[in-house]
Amino acid sequence: MKMKSSYKGNFSFSEIENDLKSKPFYTLFFNLMVLSLFFIQALRAYVPGVYVAMFHVVFGHNIVENLLILLTLIFFTLPALTNTLCKKFGIRRVAIYSIYCIAICRLLIAFHLPNIWQTILSGIIIAIYGTFISTILTLWFDNDINGIKSNNKIIFAVFSILCAFLLDYLIRTIGFSQDISLMPPGLNAEYWYITQYIWLFIQIPLTVVCIYYTRVSFPQFRNDASSVEGKGKKGTVYSLLFVGIGMFWFLLFNVFLYPNIIAHYTDSSYYVSNIISIIAVIISILTILSIKKKILLNIKVTVILNCFMIVSISLFLFLGRILTYFAVILVSISLIIMYLNFFLLFSRMSTIIFKWKKVKTISNAFAIGLVFYILFTVLHIFTTDWAYIISAFKGLGPIIILIAIIILSVSTIISNRLTKQGGKKE
């Protein structure tokens, strides 16, 4: 019994609810979860949009129009401007308007706009989510009226984001692996104009609830004006933590978020791999909610878990078809480790003390993560789908995935070391 209690964390939803009050608590949870879901959907839609545009360029159709889509990559640097926006308009206003903006952009996508517009809107959602997450976390973390530990706030934020992943799995499971928002029901000559917009029946309430509750019960944080600048120093080593977040996105959105691809690599059933992937997210959530963070921060534990993840993913990539369901289980355990790594990196990103303000730290972290996500995605595409363009790149796809896994592991281990050192100094 004594052992059990020493591992058990002291996170409590009631403590946060009492601090924020009931309505703002639900508003914050709903916004964090739903906007993260929109971000996940946008990140999934963005690369295909650019891919189709490049396809047109290669075949010489509407070259200028399709090349314009590449300009949307500029959006990915926009989160880095969050601090400037906050100085001009105030951090609270920027947070609220970023919620409106994401909710409206997602609503517009549901109108089945042309590909170029869908891609542009997806790019905007991705960029503004960086602004949203950095402002909301800064507002909340700097607001310490009742002494709620920042650790509990981080757990709550990561819990909401992982719930968004679960919702995404749910939506894709209902659509038999396809996102149901992509799936207008059957073509019918008489009802075609109506039926293609059926997703709007789900999207409109989501957007309305997002906007309404943000207007009515957005939490009243004390330090709404601006957060105080930190006294820490800039350090290039910290940038590695941000790269780790980019690698997490790269690994998920290129391979591990899709039960299909796991099933294909391992010659197993989509359904089984889907169920096991969902269980992996659930276990990650329960672990984050119930286990003491101190245990996850233990360097030995982190090194063992990450070494296990690297070996498992290597086996999956190179021997997946021989190991079949054993490889699926290895990947699922690796998925749990990936989500835990994300939790640790996210906590470090949210509590790091830089010379910059917190909002700038988080938004810069987000922008750096996105840049590395794009960089590795492009590398992965040129070593796989487009390997015929540069034959020297052929077959290097698994190597790119392994490099990303190693970077994610190293950044998590360094993050834990820095957290421990920081803790000792304090």
Partner: protein, 271 residues
């Protein structure tokens, strides 16, 4: 945690798990098709599920297919679980949507390359995939032996020939040799996107082994690069290209791909 949030929490956690288990159970339900000798074949290059409006929509492809409700379908430009197509396994999705069995094959050396698939309402007894010789993008030949009844088995082949001229002859020769080597029945159907017009030498080579099912039905030899060839059949009842997906509607959005589905109804002798 208060009661209200507890319910929200449990719903979010449990709902995906329950739904995923329900879909597994539904997928395992048995399907049956009644034996017949007049079979509808379709070949359709689905262009990664992206239509003339560039939007990804597999339901639209399914609707395009259901216009003629084929028994056996050959699909080209199929992707499975790639970031470029939002992680969807297209062969699997369409097979589930249409209530069919399927076999998908893509190049072994590059699993990210597009592949071909055969979907069938009838049991697939033998399934194999082969890589075609290529100096550019890898291309494949998919083979399935479909059991229509205890007396009727058909070897079905689906391919997508490359776009570079230097590969075409070698690929056609390879696939013809392979077909003769691996067929277990005299009844064979070869379909796919050949990237070749009807008056080319390569198609002439195919016609020494097979008949073009569209020939009797006034097909313009230059109009299509998608073919259904067959041999060992009794009669060809119909062959056509589906050109109008939605009558009286003229929108790019009605086309699920940049190709049109080609359909042939073929009568096979039952013994």
């Amino acid at each position: 945690m208060n009661k209200k949030f507890k319910y929200v929490f449990i719903t979010i956690i449990v709902a995906p798990l329950i739904i995923s288990i329900v879909t597994l159970v539904i997928a395992e339900l048995p399907r049956e098709s009644s034996p017949k000798t007049d079979l509808t074949f379709m070949t359709y290059n689905i262009h990664f599920g992206q239509g003339m409006d560039d939007l990804l929509n597999l339901e639209r492809i399914a609707q395009n297919i259901l216009i003629d409700d084929p028994d056996i379908i050959g699909l080209q430009e199929v992707r499975i679980g790639r970031i470029e197509t939002q992680g969807i396994d297209m062969a699997f999705w369409l097979a589930k949507r249409l209530g069919m069995e399927y076999y998908y094959f893509n190049p072994i050396n590059n699993p990210h390359e597009m592949g071909n698939a055969i979907l069938s309402k009838y049991p697939i007894l033998i399934k194999n995939g082969y890589e075609l010789p290529s100096t550019h993008m890898e291309r494949t030949l998919v083979h399935c032996t479909v059991e229509i009844s205890s007396n009727l088995k058909i070897d079905v082949f689906c391919t997508h020939i490359g776009i570079r001229n230097e590969n075409k002859t070698a690929q056609i020769n390879f696939l013809l040799e392979k077909i003769m080597e691996i067929s277990i029945s005299s009844k064979k159907v070869l379909m796919g996107d050949f990237n070749l017009q009807n008056d080319t030498l390569e198609i002439g080579n195919v016609l020494t082994y097979f008949n073009d099912t569209a020939e009797e039905f006034g097909a313009d030899p230059r109009a299509s690069i998608d073919y259904i060839f067959a041999t060992g059949y009794q009669d060809i009842l119909n062959s056509h290209v589906i050109t109008d997906m939605l009558p009286n509607v003229y929108l790019p959005a009605e086309y699920g791909s940049d190709h049109l589905p080609v359909v042939s109804i073929i009568r096979f002798p039952s013994i």
